[in-house]
């Protein structure tokens, strides 16, 4: 069977996680459900595996990693394995495929050296039990074939960051079987971005959509080093139930000169303003409903408002993952026992907070 080094997002489905990783599989799913995402492709796990074997570093890496059990500190092991990855050459077939795909993407977008985000798309990361989103590297505003190739390799190396190695050790995952895919996706010129949950993360209430938003790129919101505006919306009626607009003195913005996204000061006049309009909040709520319906479970979505596009096309999804906290808890039910008649519930409500002796305590149901 021939190897597949590249998969366009359009070709990916959720069953393809072993090949393209959770992130890219999920982007493919979104496209299939008619949910707008920026275009791009995955450099597959097969390409990664081919790289390891062709460079002859698979076994040596495993050997180094095993030293952890002999008490060698994680950071030493990590540094050595990362160096091994970064110094190894990319097989020619893979390099050619990546270059050709990037050129094709530039053509699709009508932009020469189109800026892309290069992100790792782990095969493990999005499994319901192993949420360590953002623990692998992401490179923004990458332009040109050489840069893309360089960042792909850096993403491969991020599989051996100290944190990720420690995480696998702690969870007892074997290092040998871990594969990684890398997503290459057109950069959005984000005016505002953030994350949303299709439930209230505070109490697991599924009738809400919780939105965190800040100016510029979403890196600060995802990593938590920027305090975002916070909105809570009723998923059924679209009522905006809570609006917490905070001062946002800094943001991750594009430095036009260096073409790098860096943490910069927000112009004075914008700091206290809400980073989303009510229309945008409601459009995001519609988006959350579509994504949740498509997956049939609570989701965690990264999104952005593209400064170049008119509303509502401006709202794009960057990433959608299954929500991992509340999904694993027992369902939040109201009825503590088998429901009785409405009358039982009414009596129960009337008696709520009222001290009742013996017998009647069996009555109050709700």
């Amino acid at each position: 069977m021939s190897r597949k080094d590249i998969a366009w997002f359009e070709e990916c489905r959720k069953d393809d996680t072993p090949l393209v990783g959770g992130k890219c599989a999920s982007l493919g799913e979104l496209l299939a459900a008619d949910i707008r995402v920026p275009p791009g492709f995955a450099v597959t796990t097969e390409a990664y595996y081919h790289f390891l074997t062709r460079a002859g570093i698979k076994e040596p890496i495993c050997k180094v990693l095993r030293r952890i059990r002999d008490g060698v500190p994680v950071h030493e092991v990590g540094e050595e394995t990362r160096r091994m990855v970064l110094e190894a050459p990319i097989p020619e077939e893979v390099e050619t495929a990546v270059r050709a795909s990037y050129r094709a993407l530039c053509e699709r977008c009508g932009v020469e050296d189109v800026p892309v985000a290069v992100r790792s798309s782990a095969t493990l990361e999005d499994m319901a039990d192993a949420s360590f989103a953002g623990q692998q590297d992401t490179y923004l505003w990458v332009r040109g074939e050489d840069e893309v190739l360089d960042k792909v390799k850096r993403c491969w190396a991020s599989l051996f960051s100290d944190r990720v190695i420690a995480y696998r050790e702690e969870k007892g995952f074997t290092h040998e079987n871990v594969r990684i895919s890398v997503g290459v996706q057109k950069m959005v010129r984000a005016r505002t971005s953030g994350v949303l949950f299709t439930l209230n993360p505070v109490n697991g209430d599924r009738s809400k959509v919780a939105i965190n938003a800040a100016w510029g790129f979403g890196e600060g919101v995802v990593s938590g080093d920027i305090t975002p505006d916070d909105f809570l919306v009723d998923k059924v009626t679209f009522d905006i139930l809570r609006r917490t607009v905070v001062p946002k003195p800094e943001a991750y913005l594009l430095d036009e000169a260096t073409e790098r996204v860096c943490r910069m000061e927000v112009p004075e006049g914008d700091r206290a303003k809400a980073s989303l309009s009510d229309d945008e909040i409601q459009e995001l709520t519609r988006l959350a409903r579509r994504i949740e319906k498509h997956y049939g479970r609570p989701m965690d979505v990264e999104w952005a408002v593209d400064a170049d596009l008119p509303f509502p096309e401006s709202i794009v999804t960057l990433q959608a993952r299954p929500e991992t906290v509340w999904s694993q808890k027992p369902a939040r039910t109201v009825a503590k026992e088998k429901p009785k008649s409405a009358l039982d519930a009414i009596v129960g409500k009337l008696l709520a907070g009222v001290p009742v002796q013996s017998k009647a305590q069996t009555v109050g149901g709700v």
Binding site: S207, D239, T333, V334, A342, A345, I346, V354, A360, V363
Partner: protein, 613 residues
């Protein structure tokens, strides 16, 4: 002496100079501080809140009849009829013309199990047979209204008719007048007995659904729960539908310009009589009157709020407003299908979000029960407060005319300064003097008293009543208090805070979030329904309260703000239907805001604020 919660003691509220002795205008058992230690101790231990929802102004002695009526009716259903497990009745007192009430709980927990058993049996019977019993209720209520309508208030002739002798009647007009007055009062009390026959149970079902939804979907706006159960075809909308129908008919007949011409109702009908089309329209107008014009311009609780039937200018000006809309090509239709679809969508989506089949079963039960009981909760207002009361006030004016004839007072409207018990006494004075052929004491007694009472009422109006007196409970859980008056632990806290904030110009008021949405716009303060013709498109209505006769206003405005009312009040219901933000029960928006100010209404949080002077 202030107690722990910062509310005055009910026994320390001061008497306004010049009103000393005001207590005699009202039934004696409404006074605080009878000279008895046990009663005083009871009063001091309870939390009495001012019922501003029903009584935004001091209450006239006669208008006390409805307070006495509901004091009895609400309380008896809780305590003696349905045996609501934790709650007895609601006790009443009066201070400087303002009604204070307190819910009375069952004190001894050992009584509750037995009460539960009775309640399950009795309330259960009503919930199970609701539709059938409600149909009977309508028959009973229409019977009461019909009897009231037919009741004549006899005149006192110089000499009785021959028939009294030749038919051997054996009774005089004096006796008949006394009897007619008694029957009039009885019918009033009876209407209020029926008023509460279903209401407590209706609220209980609603509160339970509300509670369930708040547990399942924390933070769900109350108005959305209401939207799941509110009736859409309820008769409360019918009066307004009649006016729209008349506007449409006028346009179809091509006589709309005749109707739009500024002139009195009499002049208009004089003109309309001249053509076939005009006569056709007039017939339709006459037909609509009964019963749909028996709708008060206020809540129906006060003698001074006229009904449409009393002032035909009011419905006519609304018809004119609708004709103008039609001429602009706008539709007057309520999007019924859309409203129902939206209601059903909300119910089914929330249902799908529940976490278990048990929850869904419970939700279905509760929504079903609440939907069954809700049309009553909305419709009883039309039967009792509007239809019955509109006729009742005019019967009382008829009674007053007998007194005017007998020289007791000159102004028919003076009768409201006497309470119903005093009127009975005065009537004995009148009929015995008539029978005897002497002068009644009437004017000698009532002349100075009425003059004094008038100035007392004026002084009462200037007094700002404290929101509550007595000892606040730790928390408030009693469901009727929460739903009807919106009194919660949070409101109590807000009241204490409001007092500390002290005087100063108000920039912001908080009420109940009655209908969602946020808008800014110019305020238009309308103190009575007659002022709604001044409303301009896109203004925000600021008013004491609304009733169905205010309906035409809602097609022009951007949002509504009221002084009184909870999430179930008319303004909130109508705004939800029209998709307009509303904040209700703000306390004193009509005083705090002025016409022309730019204000912001946040129907999600219940806050109204001034944006620009």
């Amino acid at each position: 002496m202030a107690n722990g919660g910062g509310f005055p003691s009910p026994h320390d509220v001061f008497t306004i100079p010049g009103t000393e002795g005001w207590e005699r205008m009202y039934p004696y058992h409404y006074r605080f501080g009878a000279d008895d230690p046990e009663r005083k101790q009871y009063e001091a231990s309870m939390f009495w809140f001012y019922d501003g929802l029903h009584y935004p102004e001091p209450i006239y002695p006669f208008d006390m009849i409805w307070d006495e009526a509901w004091f009895l009716a609400l309380s008896q259903y809780n305590t003696r009829i349905f045996i609501v497990p934790p709650a007895l009745g609601v006790d009443h007192r009066i201070i400087n013309g303002r009604i204070y009430i307190t819910p009375v709980p069952v004190k001894d927990p050992s009584e509750i199990p037995a009460r539960v058993e009775h309640f399950m049996k009795r309330a259960g019977y009503y919930y199970e047979n609701w539709d059938e019993l409600y149909a009977k209720w309508e028959t009973k209520m229409k019977g009461v209204i019909e009897e009231l309508d037919k009741l004549t208030i006899p005149k006192l002739p110089d000499m009785e008719e021959d028939s009294v002798v030749f038919d051997a009647v054996g009774r005089s007009s004096g006796y008949e007048l006394l009897t007619a007055y008694d029957r009039l009062i009885q019918l009033g009390i009876l209407a209020w007995q029926y008023h509460f026959e279903f209401l407590n149970l209706g609220y209980a079902a609603y509160v339970t659904l509300l509670d369930f939804c708040q547990k399942a979907f924390p933070g769900i706006p109350l108005q959305r729960v209401t939207q799941m159960v509110s009736g859409i075809d309820v008769i409360l909308y019918q009066p307004d539908e009649e006016l729209k129908g008349l506007a449409r008919l006028a346009c179809e007949l091509g006589i709309e310009d005749e109707i739009l011409k500024e002139r009195s109702v009499e002049e208009l009908f004089e003109e309309l009589k001249k053509t076939n089309d005009g006569r056709l329209w007039e017939q339709r107008f006459e037909k609509a009157k009964y019963p749909w014009f028996y709708i008060s311009t206020g809540t129906g609780w006060f003698h001074h709020d006229p009904a449409w039937i009393d002032e035909l200018e009011i419905p006519l000006s609304s018809i004119r407003m609708y004709i103008q809309k039609l001429k602009k090509g706008e539709s007057l239709d309520r999007p019924l299908g859309e409203l129902k679809r939206e209601r059903d969508r909300i119910i089914s989506e929330y249902r799908d979000l529940l976490a278990s089949d048990d929850d869904r079963e419970m939700f279905d039960n509760l929504v079903g029960t609440a939907q069954r009981v809700f049309p009553y909760v909305e419709s009883h207002l039309f039967y009792v407060e509007h239809w019955f009361h509109s006729i009742f006030w005019n019967k009382m004016r008829e009674v007053s005319r007998r007194f005017v004839t007998a020289g007791f007072w000159d102004d028919v409207e003076d009768i409201w300064l006497l309470n119903r018990h005093e009127i009975k006494q005065a009537m004995w004075d009148m009929v015995t003097a008539w029978a005897t052929g002497t002068q009644p004491m009437g004017r000698l007694h009532w002349g100075p008293e009425i003059a004094w009472r008038k100035q007392v009422m004026e002084k009462f109006k200037e007094w700002t009543p404290p929101p509550a007196v007595g000892t606040p409970p730790e928390t408030i859980t009693e469901p009727f208090t929460i739903v009807l008056w919106g009194i919660t632990s949070e409101t109590m806290a807000a009241w204490s805070k409001g007092k500390e904030a002290g005087e100063g110009p108000v920039r912001e008021l908080t009420g109940f979030a009655g209908s969602p949405g946020v808008v800014e716009g110019p305020a238009r303060v309308c103190r009575t329904v007659s002022e709604i013709s001044t409303l301009q498109d896109g203004e925000i209505l600021v008013c004491p309260t609304t009733s169905p006769s205010w309906a035409p206003a809602f097609t022009k405005i951007k949002a509504a703000v009221t002084d009184v009312g909870g999430i179930m009040c008319h303004a909130a219901i109508v705004c939800r239907e029209y998709g307009l933000p509303a904040v209700v029960g703000t306390g004193n928006a009509t005083q705090a805001f002025k016409t022309g100010q730019k204000i912001r209404v946040d129907g999600n949080t219940g806050v109204v604020s001034i944006v620009e002077e």
